[in-house]
C-alpha cells in the first residue's frame, strides 16, 4: 500500500486536504497541527485538493476547515471518506441565526 499525504490546516478541523491524488485504500499520513501524525485509510478516491474526513461526522454535523464552519453534513460521513458537495452543504443561514442569539 502506498502512503499519501494530506494537510490539517487548523487544530479544530475535522477534515484534511489531500496534497496529492489519493486512491481508495491508500494509507494517508496527516501531520496534525499539534505535531502528531494521524494515519487513516482512504475509503475512496480523494483527488488533489479535496477533503478527507478525519473523524466520523454524523448527518447535520458541522464540517470544520480553517478552524471555521464551512458547511454541514447532509449524510453520515465516515472517517476516511471524501467530503464534498455530495455530502456537504453550506450553513450560512444557521451561522446568522447563531450571531443573532
Amino acid at each position: 500500500l502506498k502512503s499519501k499525504h494530506a494537510v490539517h490546516l487548523n487544530r479544530k478541523d475535522n477534515v484534511a486536504v489531500a496534497v496529492e491524488d489519493i486512491e481508495a485504500k491508500d494509507l494517508v499520513n496527516i501531520v496534525l497541527t499539534d505535531g502528531s501524525t494521524q494515519s487513516i485509510k482512504a475509503l475512496e478516491t480523494i483527488p488533489f485538493g479535496f477533503k478527507i474526513a478525519l473523524t466520523d461526522i454524523p448527518a447535520a454535523g458541522y464540517i470544520i476547515k480553517y478552524g471555521e464552519i464551512i458547511g454541514k453534513a447532509t449524510s453520515d460521513i465516515e472517517l476516511g471518506a471524501q467530503v464534498h458537495v455530495h455530502n456537504v452543504e453550506g450553513v450560512r443561514a444557521q451561522i446568522e441565526e447563531k450571531k443573532g442569539e
Binding site: V17, F48, Y66, I70, G90
Partner: protein
Amino acid sequence: MIISFLGYPRPDGSVGIRNHVLVLPGGLISTKICEFVNGSHTIISADTGLLRTKRDREIVARTLVGIGKNPNVAGLILHDISAASGYPELKPETLAHRIAETGKSVEVITSNQYPNACKVIERGIRVARQMVCDASSMRRQLVDDSHLAIGVKCGRSDATSGIAGNPVMGYLVDNVVDAGGIALFGETTEIIGAEHLLAKRAISEQVGQEIIKAALETEEKAKSCGEDIRTINPMPANISGGISTLEEKSLGAIAKAGTSPIQGVLKYAQPPAGKGLYFVDSWPGSLSILLGFEAAGATLTLYQLGGGGFLGDTILFPSPSGVAPLFWTTANRNTFQLAGESIDFFSGTVIEGKETIEQCGEKLCRLVREVASGSMCKAETIKYQDPVEIYRLDHPF
C-alpha cells in the same frame, strides 16, 4: 522608510510604476487615436452611464476620474463623443477638472469644435503624440515603499489557493501595509461566511459593522433575485477544484488580505483616505474589480489563480488591465505547468514543503519591487485587452 523601488513621481506626490498616456472614454475615437500613437492607451467599457440611475452614473464618473488620476497615468485626453447623452456628471469638462487636481496634463477635445469625427481623431493624434513625448522625458526615481499601492484578487480558486496561494499573497499585503503603502481587496460575495473574521480586524467597531453589513446586503440582494447565492458561487470551476461551499471559498479567499488591520470599507472606485489595508465593497468579476482597484489608486494589481476547472493558459483568461499591470500568481503545480509562460510567480512550493509561507512571501515581495521598478509582468507582453465592466448597483431604466 525603505527606499527600494524606481517610480515616476507625480505632481500630487503620488508615484506611478508605469507612464501611460490615456485617452478616455474608450470607443471609436479613442481606439483610433491609440492605434496611431505609440505609448497611448484606452480602456473600453460598455458602461457609459446611459439610462442609469444617478448613483450608477456617479460610479461611472468616479471610475473614469479615478483611472485618470491613477499615478500610472502621465497625461490624459478626454473627448466628449460618448457624453452626448448630456448627463452633467459625465461631462468631459467636469471629469477633466477633477482629474486636473492631480496637476497632471489633461486635455479635453470638444467635438463640436470640429466638422466631423475624423477631425476629432486627427486632433487627438496630435495631442497624444505630444503627450507621449512629454511623458517619455520623465525619469524614474528611487522612492520609498510607502508609495506601493496594490489591489489583490483571487480566482478559479481551488484548495491550493486557500493553503498557499492566498496566504503568500497575504504576506505581500502585510508587507506593503507595514511599509506604509496601500493594499486593497474586495469581492464582497466571497467574504460571506468569513466576514466575522474580517470584522475582528477592523480598526473600529464601526468599520467592523460596515464589513458585516456589506456581506449581508450582498446576500440579501442575491436573495431578492429569487436565487440562492450558493447556487451561483462557488462556481462549478471551484467545486471541481475541491471547494464545497461558499463559506469554504470565502475562508480561503480572505487569506489574501493578510493579517493587517482593516482601515475602512470603500465603495467601488473610491480612493482610500489614508494608507493601509482597505476592503472594497465590490463584485468579484475579473473584468470589474481590477478596474475598481485602479480607479481607487492601485498602481499594481495581482491575481492569485487556482486551477479548478482550469481551461489552459492564462492567456485565455480575462486580461482587463487598464492602467495598472496585472501580476499573476498560482500555487497549483498543474496550473503553473500549463500556463507558466503567462504566470509571474509560483507559490506551490509551500504545499510541496520546499518553502514556508514567509520564505515564498519574501520572494514575492522582492519581485513586486522589480515590477514596480519597470520589469514587465507577463500579461504586459501581450497586445490584447478585454473590455471592462464597471460595477453598478442599480437596475437600468
